[in-house]
Subunit: 763 residues, 2 copies
């Protein structure tokens, strides 16, 4: 192991989550738990039709209801369009409340603030909306038909519902296919599903007498919400303070400004009282953000020996009614279409298409799970056709450290070969596959994912990640960061990184996070598995500055030779060559304060990836094997065991990675087998967890895993992502295992018992 | 007027208090308003005897009461003594809860935390304390008698109840008196009274799973509470976060760690639940801190022409049962005995004496009102004897800029002569005095006060005052300071100072204050009229650093000659010589962020007075005339008019100074005429505002005032204190006026109708 990794024995040590005691004892405060004096309760009126002009909204009866303090529609607001892709303002296609038309069932139309949630709810029923219905489209094909209604007026070309596209061209695609030994061409449909985070969204705003807003909101991205709320309210950015209380999961679904954020703040400003809006599970399932459903055509050319020559990849993303994070999904789908194998020639055409459905957005792996479901399934199909075992076929083509995607990125560390080899060994894959009992299957899927994004779509002028570290003579430190722990455990890992570097116990690090008025500007938040790498690097930057200062104190005190290194461990600052020549950390700080005439020792750290291509500074990799049993009579699939070998660089907190892995497998199984929206004419029918099935503890398989020992040069102590990538391989691995068990090769997720019974001729 | 003062037209402008809208609409949250989930209610058991050994405390019945979650006595705690004078640990004589003995009626013995305040109250009645009574002393004379019981075992000499003394010797006192033309020697008694702040003290603590305490408390000094709470709980200083919510007044009564702070934190740690303790008005009046009562002997020698030759000043302070801020009061009494006139020879003997009364502490002007009541009354008496009018006598001796108190301080600005002259003019003092109608009186009193203390009695290693200023490209700024606005309006003034210096409107300054975990370490808090000068200077230090950075941007953009100054006003940064060559403040920040590759522009500012003598960096001065009517039948005194001319340096916010002046007159009238504790055997009998009389709005006189135009070189924009000094002159002025009206010269405050009737032979 690289000695750089094992810093003070803390890196690689399983540390329980800092937030766990408060959460398991019920003390943690979520936005919906916070009560402010005089607080009003807000509710939002949503469109009941999928596509219509708004002719008139009559709020008079609602306003007259006793206890109602405010009712707003778009006409009361500045009507500033917003969206996360600020770099391209034409992608900003949402209004906080719909002005002239509604585009999906659930589109926000009006908001009420009242002295109780019940009165607010009743007031909603008194608002009368006159619609002029417009024909609606509920899938990509209909939306792209020449007769389709235009969902937005301001599209780039104004002639179709394609809101944006992404093209990648590497090499001569026509020539490459012409000479190919074997070409595999398939069409796939991958479906949408819900984040199903435990905490429905909520917002609580108060506004001071000078118009400054404090917004508590369940968010992954306090800075993004701050900026967009300010622009939609037409107030200075720094008049908005966003505080992230405890957040019960996000998975990409909480990284945007949302209507309730705006409405609670705007009504708080109008009424002079705090306004809280809490969504229900029904709201979340019916109209919440979701994973992009896609139609993907993929054509891959191989040499006779299995070497990939070229790939032609085309994706149509069902974006729903607004862009949301669709641009990124369109981009990443193309990026991961070009991975995780070497594709010397690659063409990608990605189209983000508006439909009259609830908008799709970011969701764990956004774009990658869809692309890699297709790619990995095609690899398994090609292996059959080429009569090469799927392990060998993968190893032959797998990306390795130093590989490049032209114009996109360079792979600075890759443990894919090792992961594939390891997972095959762990499962005795080839042997087991040859000797499968009846109705049993074993399959493999591989993945890669980004460790944070490089492309500055939010167009911030600040560093991507920042922090401040203050240290004290009592031997403690204070880490201030705008990073947002939404349940993934980043607060724990960030403390661990700082503690390891300063040589302090983790509990001596006070952490303040997720408050835009208190913590250094900026951090772009939690998405794209960016926190550990990006904020970790910012922390090491700040820590380095602190250590430089304290090293001077030890050097002064012990008259150290200028060539001597000063070390930090065990709460001491000492000459590395002679540890006895040292003082406690607290004493060193005290000396510094004296030497600096009473100043507090503090340092800021920053990280922005520069010259790291277009996508990410570092990629994780891994391979997963699923073993399944399929009941031939019912078609029910039981996932018996999931074995994973993954490369997330240095594992900083094994306990945290384990949690991510288990959660990813749960989400991956749900995606593959059961989670699906039942839709009728744009309306979501399954809006409770009774109807919308997510795997429960009893549905979980045996889980086996191994971490591949790699070192990512760009990551803190060699670490890279472990948050999202792990959700990717489960679908192709299960799908392949189901094929082994049943002969049914799924090109249309999810794999339901019905599909299996149909494929096997049982129904 | 000095051009330095008029910065962007904001200095000298009346600006309403930033906290006013929230306070008048009831939205402001005081500690007692804050409710945390799962919160317990705490109550404190107090001694019912004045002096006793504690033989046993039986808490079993209280613990058994349903709903009681914790009961603590000293034995459950670390028993670490504390006190504000950390520099001299022998002065730290308090325990959070009494261990082996109680020293006054009200001494804290035990604390209870329960699910309701009622249950906690009931539990107190179930705690049984066995005492062994010790004789008690309730005044300085009895306490200093040879037969007196020792109240503390660990006194410096262990032979008397004098806890500490202070001696000042300037020149040969015996020689000076020998040759004097006129010597005036008097003994005075000045009494104790209550701060009577509107908000009784309260504390609310929660403790996280790692033992970090967050304490909300009604305090003037978050940093002091942080440090002392940490030491009494034996945890690292930075495990304590003190947050100061809205505070309803303090006047010196809220500048220490108090038993409720400790008990709420300690019980929160034990129970794992937040604990809130809210005092009642009865608690406050019965056992709260109060002004030091003193016995003062003063002997002053004059030449025939009225020039003062020498002064011999001796004060015995009734400290009550603990030192509290008594050392400072003892020190300041001697300091102000040597002011506000030139005393070429001066001797001071000050003794702080323990008694079995509630401890005295800091209170608006601590030490100065008592000393100056005596001095000013003696000046008025000497004027009669010497047949020199009191204006002339004062002008002859008044301190002027550049005067020194040997070994103590240099007066860097003094507007005393101008104040005396001005107030005499404004009131037509001499004419009016010569022609007084029957039962009418007119009198004069003068004052000086410190603008913050220099002597580092808290023994902090940090700067006395610190702040951070962050600026943003939206043209706003954020000021972070540990300063504590307790109602005096400092938040408003501090924003005004920063806004003036950066050339921004005040409302564009976000202010975060009074949170030890968020704001720069440290600021010593609100006492000694220190905030405007000290934090103001820290702010100007930070602002200078910000402006240096932004000046570079303007210089770069307009290719300014290196000799050109860059100005900041009207939200612009521009060449002073050519204002057209400028950019908006926000644009300058944006340029800086670009030039610094995404860093946030922030600067810290610090201020510590250095080489400013022992007492303060700057003295305020002023003179006040009171006009009274005395009813000869009832002895009731009506204060008809108070006229003040005062020198607080540059007036930053006239509205704020006006508020201080009015409040000070109200407090001064109460002190002089009616506020007094009714005590019997150490027990306070008047514990409600029905029995303890403070002047109400209807008791207020006509108020006239003028600010003397001076410039204090050490103060921000030339400002010095206006918070405490103004409370000083009212007592001697009224007392002198009463003498003019009745012939009664008061040497024992307060001046009650009874005293007047006795003096005039009516009873």
């Amino acid at each position: 192991m690289d000695p750089k990794k094992n810093k003070n024995n803390l890196i690689g040590k399983s540390i329980p989550r800092i937030d766990a005691p408060a959460k398991v004892t019920g003390k943690a405060l979520y936005t919906g738990d916070i009560v402010l004096p005089g607080m009003l309760h807000g509710k939002i009126l949503r469109s009941t039709v999928a596509h219509a002009k708004i002719l008139n909204i009559d709020i008079s009866a609602a306003l007259a209801l006793p206890g109602v303090k405010d009712v707003i529609t778009a006409k009361d607001t500045p009507c500033v369009k917003f969206g996360n892709w600020r770099l391209f303002p034409q992608t900003q296609d949402e209004l906080p409340l719909a002005l002239d038309k509604v585009r999906f069932i659930g589109d926000e139309i009006a908001a009420v603030a009242a002295i109780s949630a019940e009165i607010a709810e009743e007031a909603l029923t008194l608002i009368k909306v006159d619609y002029e219905i417009i024909p609606a489209v509920f899938n990509v094909d209909d939306s792209l038909a020449s007769s389709a209604p235009m969902i937005h007026d301001g599209n780039p070309d104004n002639t179709s519902n394609i809101s944006l596209d992404r093209k990648i061209d590497v090499g001569d695609i026509e020539a490459a296919f012409k000479d190919a030994y074997y070409v595999r061409e398939d069409s796939f449909t991958v479906h949408s599903h819900s984040h199903a985070y435990m905490e429905p969204c909520a917002s609580l705003a108060e506004v001071d007498s000078e118009g400054r807003v404090t917004l508590y909101t369940s968010t992954q991205t306090p800075y993004i919400v701050q900026c967009l709320l300010a622009s939609t309210m037409e107030i200075p950015e720094n008049y908005v303070r966003v505080i992230k209380p405890s957040v019960g999961g996000g998975f990409g679904g909480k990284m945007e400004l949302r209507a309730w954020d705006f409405c609670s703040a705007f009504m708080a400003k109008r009424t002079g009282r705090p306004v809280r809006i809490v969504l229900t599970r029904e709201d979340e399932l019916a109209v919440g953000r979701r994973r992009h459903g896609m139609k993907i055509k993929s054509k891959v050319a191989f040499n006779k020996d299995g070497t990939i020559i070229a790939k032609d990849f085309e994706a149509y993303l069902d974006g729903g009614a607004y862009n949301s994070m669709g641009p990124t999904a369109t981009f990443l789908c193309g990026n991961f279409g070009a991975m995780i194998y070497r594709y010397p020639v690659y063409r990608y055409r990605g189209y983000h298409v508006y439909t009259n459905l609830p908008p799709s957005g970011a969701m764990r792996g956004f774009g990658a799970p869809q692309a890699l479901y297709v790619s990995e399934t095609q690899m398994n199909m090609a292996a059959v056709d080429l009569n090469i075992d799927p392990i060998e076929l993968r190893l032959k083509n797998a990306m390795v450290t130093g590989d490049k995607i032209e114009g996109v990125t360079t792979i600075s560390s890759a443990g894919l070969v090792e992961s594939i080899t390891k997972v095959a060994e762990m499962t005795n894959f080839l042997e087991k596959k040859k000797n499968l009992p009846k109705n049993k299957g074993i399959g493999i899927g591989c993945y890669s994912f980004i460790s944070g994004g490089v492309f500055n779509w939010f167009n911030t002028q600040y560093n991507f990640s920042s922090c401040e570290v203050r240290v004290y003579d009592d031997g403690t430190a204070h880490l201030l960061t705008m990073s947002a722990d939404i349940g993934q455990g980043s607060d724990t890992v960030l403390r661990q990184i700082l503690a390891a570097d300063l040589g302090l116990p983790v509990e001596k690090i006070r952490l303040t996070a997720g408050d835009t008025a208190m913590t250094p500007k900026c951090d772009l938040g939690t998405w794209g598995s960016r926190v550990t790498l990006m904020n970790g690097n910012a922390i090491l930057d700040a820590s380095k500055k602190i250590k430089e200062q304290l090293s001077k104190m030890a050097s002064l005190k012990f008259d150290l030779n200028v060539i001597h290194e000063v070390s930090f461990s065990d709460e001491r600052v000492y000459a590395k060559a002679n540890p006895k020549r040292g003082i406690t950390f607290g004493e060193a700080v005290k000396m510094w304060v004296k030497a600096n005439r009473g100043e507090e020792l503090t340092a800021r750290g920053y990280y922005t990836p520069r010259d790291k291509g277009l996508t990410t500074p570092a990629y994780s990799f891994g391979a997963q094997v699923a073993e399944v049993d399929v009941d031939p009579e019912t078609g029910v699939i039981t996932v018996e065991r999931i074995t994973t070998a993954h490369d997330c660089g240095t594992v900083i907190n094994p306990l945290g990675v384990e949690g991510q892995l288990e959660g990813a497998i749960q989400m991956g199984i749900g995606y593959t087998l059961c989670e699906q929206f039942a839709m009728r004419d744009g309306k979501t029918l399954n809006t409770t967890f009774l109807d919308y099935k997510i795997p429960a503890a009893e549905d979980m398989p045996e889980i086996v895993s191994a971490a591949i020992d790699t070192y990512e040069p760009e990551g803190p102590f060699g670490a890279k992502e472990a948050g999202e990538g792990l959700v990717i391989p489960t679908a192709p691995a299960i799908s392949d295992a189901v094929f082994q068990a049943t002969g049914y090769r799924c090109k249309e997720l999810p794999i339901t018992p019905e599909k299996i019974l149909r494929a096997t001729g049982k129904i």
